[in-house]
Amino acid sequence: MRAEPRVPEAALAAIRAPFAGAGVVAVDPPILQPLGALLDVAGEALRARLFVVQAEGGAEACLRPDFTAAIARLHIESGAREGRYYYEGPAFRAAPAGSERAEEFLQVGLEVYGEAGGPTVAADAEIAALSWRAAAAGGRDDLTLWLGDVALFGAFVDALDLEPALAERLKRAAARPRLMQAELARAGGAADTGAEGGQLAATLAGLSTDQAAQLLEEVWALAGVERVGGRGAAEIAQRLIRRAQDARAPALSAAQADAVRAFLKVEDAPAGALETLQRIAPASAGFAAAIAGWRERLDLMTAAGVPVGAMRFAASLGYAFEYYDGLTLEVRSAALGGGRPLAAGGRYDGLPARLGGAKAACAVGAMVRPWRAFAGGEA
């Protein structure tokens, strides 16, 4: 396993200072994390990057690939409603074959938990500004703070005023290029009325939930289908009905598809980007409020010392990460390129609930990789 060189203590102290000084409790979660729980949160795609270990007869564990899920679990177990956690320690990710990347690397970071419905705008601005200051403390002078917002696309889709099923699909597709392509490709087309199982779905739609489930059981019995797998008759009957409805629902119009494409392509200085986004989106109170929230975030970040000229807004930033559901941020160095950010983070209100914690918490966090931030470090 390739490990990163050590960052000189003086440089590390400077990088750690913004996070460590932010009124935090230092935590040190276990390096070994339960594999199943982590994959549940992050998805199977992460498995190829994990170092998996197992004692004889024990459950599978992995070396922590980052701290977010581990600290979320600590926070849930503590029973506290609010928490500000600082961490510093090694994280582990397997490099793809042939890559020279370090597989053991130092991360320092901050995770902030607040009450549901807490001040999201201020918390977002704080974490972004702290990330910027920590990354910049490493001494590089070619940095850019990239900003994005997964929830903004949701607000945009709502503003398009689509059929609920189509809107749902579109929001899901944001993180999945292939689904998005398929959705955009069928834009402007006619609704599909001859969907498979259409007749059965039509019959089921006229029945009560119980009757529909009963009918489906009869269909199975007639076809000699043995019931395996965890899904029950009622669930399958309901989805058959929904699938038929979805298929009948109109696709995006060509103009709407163009708007979606234009939206996801936006990448500009924040003020210009917000203006463009507002021009692309249909007028709606919800979307206007989201844009106003962003203007406020930018003002707060500027006030906290982030140079206006160092910020960029990219509408599709951070979608690859499964658990972000609001703000996304990355600090990049021109020398290291887009694939190796110095700092990364965002909002993940939904994560604690997925780990069995309180629903609709207010959670943001970010981490810095000191060896990348350090001007004499990663090249």
Binding site: G43, A45, R172, A175, P177, E226, I236
Partner: protein, 319 residues
Amino acid sequence: MSEPLIMAVPSKGRLKEQVEEWLADCGLDLKASGGSRGYVAALKGQPAVVVRLLSAGDIAEALDAGDVHLGVTGEDLLRERGGDVDARVQLLRPLGFGRADLVVAVPKSWLDVDTMADLEAVAHDTVVRTGRRMRVATKYLVQTRAFFAAHGVTDYRITESSGATEGAPAAGTAELVVDITTTGATLVANGLKVLNDGLILSSQAQFAASLRASWSAGQLAAAERVLRIIEARAAARDSATLVWPARGDAAEAAVVADLVARGAARRPNGLLVPARDVADASLALAAARLGPLTVSRPDFVYDLDCAPYDALRTGVTRV
């Protein structure tokens, strides 16, 4: 003697028999050395080659790691090695046996799931409704991950399975499976159906070379000898020689030119044609009153070039 060329062939089962038949058909009979239980063998007429008998899975691993130079194994096992396997293993020739499909199969009772798009929607519903991801039983982790990602399916978990994968949904340890099937009968017997667009890989046995093995000039030369024989035998199986008394007139020249344009090659006393074209060629010759025609099947057809060997040499020097 210089270092031998190591070639791995399957050590058991139907695949072993098929590989032995194929090699014998090429005149490269396997000769067990070191007793009947030996796991080392020789190849008839190829003193520079040592044959190792390994399991198909171990052959895929050995090719990937560079522990053997050549080997026969299933493409499904090679693809499962992960990463850019084509940069490490060169496929030389598909062998036409050991066919099996790697497929995504769900319970037949899921009348609402026919495609990967349906699966994506149901997987998402499941995680939203229950907070738990749908479980996929498989031993093909790498290909499952890549295929699901390509179809935008992310709300699932893999349950590693080393045997009897198709029984996992019935046993309640997974909701669906990704598994190898030849006829689909086992899947059906377990209450499963293959998704319409659920074919991940149409696999067959492959003759392959490791690009990571150390290749000396002598080992490359030994590989060329073997490859030329294999290619010559494959070309011969696909061709027929046509011979007739030459007339030397313009009509004959026209018929020959036409057949050459359709894929035949000139030979001193006639033509070499693809086996499937023999009937058409005989009709064309008869129509021009050329005959009697003798058709024979060659044992070997050696071309000047040997494309798989050229590719191997290029691949080895690039690595």
